[in-house]
Amino acid sequence: MHYISKLTYYLVIILIILSINFFLPRAMPGDPLAYVLGENPDMPTRMTEEEREMRLAEYGLDKPLLEQYLNYMVGLSRGDLGCSIYYNTPVMDEILVRLKWTLLLTGTSTVIYMLLGIFLGAESAWARGKKKDTGSLITILTVSSFPTFFLGTLLAIFFAANLDLFPLGGARIIGASYANPFEKALDILHHLVLPAATLIIAHIGGTYLLMRNSMLSVLGADYILSARAKGLSERYIMNRHAIKNALLPVVTMAALTVQFMIIGTIFVEKVFAYPGVGNLLYDSVLRRDYPLLQGIFLFIAISVVIANFIADMTYLWLDPRVRDE
């Protein structure tokens, strides 16, 4: 019952998001044709009225809004996201070709920043008030408070441009032929380090702080005193009693902050010229490429919903009290 109502809830959310996705790009100022033709919309257009109408009809943009909306929804149900105005290719193809890079980048970063934040937060709370705690608190808060694009640029300048340790951008060497899959993986990893590091550093602060505070309050709980009274060691108490309880608010926060990860990804992909969906989104906004934007927003909406679903399931796994509701 619990699962079914959750699922219905998520489906309704997706439907609402799809509708907003349709209307939002159309509410933006600007004209999709202007960018295709490389024209400034404020300048007198060199296209005749007839030519304009022909191009708009090609994309179905001449029809009434409601009809466009219905066409969009029907197309969606068939997995058809329409054609990109700029690339003139199916939106689905444009996204899929970039999606794997974005998933690789955000997936790696999310797993690492969550685990590292939880680990460091727990260790910090453990050593509360000591040098180790104060040191990591100050360091993490300082580096995490840089804006993502600034942090990315700094890392690029220092580690790529100056030290030449990592490539400046891209996801792999373009046109390279690899002797074996291992070499290919190494090249991809080499390109992944800086953008992933940027995302990890930019996002670790929230998880770290929350885990630290959550752990501190858990360490003062009666059941921790209870565990000490049994003669259990401090390490065992932390691992078996404290961490699981302290994780509960961290999981909730992780679901609520997926959006920041997505925003961060757009900046990072732009800074490192990473061929992912974020980069595509950035360009498509400039190009007023409605169908492509809608397609990307659809994928973002679905990924947010999936992230929330994962968080919900993790919470159910962690907390028996929620399971029985």
Partner: protein, 311 residues
């Protein structure tokens, strides 16, 4: 003698000043007796229990001696204390609802101590935990062992706390308000269970409930503002109380008319001069305001701290 506590002081630094929660206590507990420590909320009872277990914050200063089986617990290392806690001395903490880990199965919370102290493997320890749940009369114990604390009622949680405390067969038990918040019928069951389970053990029973103390204790001490004001065998306290505070406490029992003691217990930071009870005492005289009375043996085994003790 199971435990001898002498000159014990437990002080905490706080922003408002030093809290003298235990100041000063001397008492001895015999091998199989149940010793009741009675007092109002905030008199330092719970702190005494935690001091014995050495479970207080490191910033706490503790002075004096707690001799358990010939060893001074205040000089034991943390590693030594870990082998004593749960195995030699167990504490049944108050508030079972918050003292059980909400995300760990009840059976596991009992079994982990058994694994640690008795070296049993996971399976045997789990079986022993089920035995303990059965011993505290929890119905269908093997199924209940796999449930979480929120699935238990208040009385059942208290039974789990008792099972957890007694799991490694300790010889000394500190029970802190084991009947707090339970309704009368459940309270009677828990009292009966405690009596049965601790029959041949030494127990320090901390409570503010005289009716529970009367059922379980061999000797009773009354604690007021960090120190003992009277202690005697059960009969001595109930039939010939010597201290005005003890008489006031007895007078607040339902069958004696629920007469409250006037005034409030003092802050543990700033005690009144002289006798700590004098501002609330109807018999207070000049000497009570000036001189702090000593604990003296009024009759054999019956100690009292009062300038005007009379039978």
């Amino acid at each position: 003698m199971m435990m001898r506590i002498s000159d014990l002081k437990t002080h905490f630094p706080t922003p408002d000043g030093i809290v003298r929660a235990v100041d000063t206590i001397d008492l001895s507990i015999r091998d199989t007796e149940t010793f009741g420590l009675i007092g109002e909320t905030g008199c330092g009872k719970t702190v005494l229990g935690l001091t014995i277990m050495r479970l207080l914050h490191p910033a706490t200063t503790v002075e004096g001696e707690i001799i358990y089986k010939g060893q001074n617990l205040l000089e034991a290392s943390e590693a030594e204390m870990r082998t004593i806690r749960g195995r030699e001395i167990a504490i049944i903490l108050q508030n079972p609802t918050t003292s059980l880990n909400p995300v760990m199965k009840v059976g596991e919370q009992i079994a982990e101590a058994i694994r640690l102290h008795q070296g049993l493997n996971k399976k045997d320890a789990a079986a022993k935990a089920v035995e303990m749940l059965d011993a505290v009369r929890i119905p269908s114990p093997s199924q209940r062992a796999n449930e979480y604390p929120h699935e238990f009622s208040g009385g059942m949680k208290q039974r789990v706390m008792i099972a957890m405390g007694l799991a490694c067969n300790p010889s000394f038990i500190i029970a802190d308000e084991p009947t707090k918040g339970l309704d009368v019928t459940i309270k009677a069951q828990i009292v009966e269970l405690m009596r049965e389970m601790t029959e041949r053990k030494a127990m320090l029973l901390i409570t503010h409930d005289l009716s529970v103390a009367r059922e379980l204790c061999d000797r009773i001490a009354l604690m007021y503002a960090g120190e003992l004001v009277e202690y005697a065998p059960l009969k001595g306290i109930f039939e010939s109380p010597l201290h005005p505070y003890t008489r006031g406490f007895l007078g607040s029992l339902p069958e004696r008319g629920l007469v409250p003691i006037p005034g409030m217990s003092p802050s543990l930071i700033d005690f009144p001069d002289g006798c700590r009870f004098h501002p609330r005492c109807e018999h207070a005289t000049e000497v009570c305001r000036r001189e702090h009375p000593e604990l003296v043996e009024f009759n054999a085994g019956h100690f009292v701290r009062c300038h005007h003790a009379r039978s």
